[in-house]
Amino acid sequence: MWLDNLDSGQRGPAKFFLLMASKASGAEMADVVKTFLYRPEFFGRAISQLSARTMRGPSFWTAGEREYIALRTAQLYQVPYCIEIHTEMVRLASAGEISATDPDKVRPELAAVLAFLEKAERSPDSLSDTDIAELRERGVTDDAVIEALHVAFVWDLVDRLAHAFGYRLLDGQLEKGTKALHGFKYQLPGFVLH
């Protein structure tokens, strides 16, 4: 990463967690996790709690579908790092209901909300109540729209940071690191966030 502090300036609890997590998973923790751990009172604590809830909390969308929304956001912002991670995450989190390599497999409700999210990300000022009315007609409830918006929000933010801080995938991170992230459901332990 391009900010040395994100690699070498971590505090004691974060250093300990990064060491233990890399030993357990067999790969260094992902750059995005290091960003969450660095000065967590500034960013990581709130974004970690939000991402855990949006990605694995109760939702109209399956965990696999939420990973697919994250994948589509990464594709929109042209972030190879996040595209690779969320492609793998779709595979890990889905129960066969969705595939990263088969866009035709998405259920109609997801296809509808993906089009809405792309519009929101490309031209937020153009959104109107008509967009929501159309989603309702296609079976997407208002709560489902709100849940999808928050998934897109988290990754819209992280994807920008991936570009700005120079995130890179290291050897073994894609399979082992992503599996670890999936395993702890995006929930970082409290001692590293306080």
Binding site: F42, L50, T54, G57
Partner: protein, 107 residues
Amino acid sequence: MPGKDDSSEARYSRFVADLRQAVFEGPGQADPALRRSAATGKGLTEPWLSYTSRVRDAAWTLTESDIDALKAAGHSEDEIFEMTIAAALGASLRMLDAGLQAVRDVG
């Protein structure tokens, strides 16, 4: 919807509010007013004006040389960390807030 504690928005709103508070108002090396300006670009001067604009609108064009240039201009890594996150959060909130407003407007 606002006011309905069991709604999806209510489930997330506390955490979004925490994020706004920490990044735009919390302790940091960059002045909070400067961080709030990074969210939109309004009131910023160079080099932050150009840098945060690209974080918000063309993040894929950023390279390590952009970070190096900010450091060469005398800015610390912590300032760069904070201003980058503030700019990215500003752009992402614009999308989120517009989407949530559309849901409210449909009634």
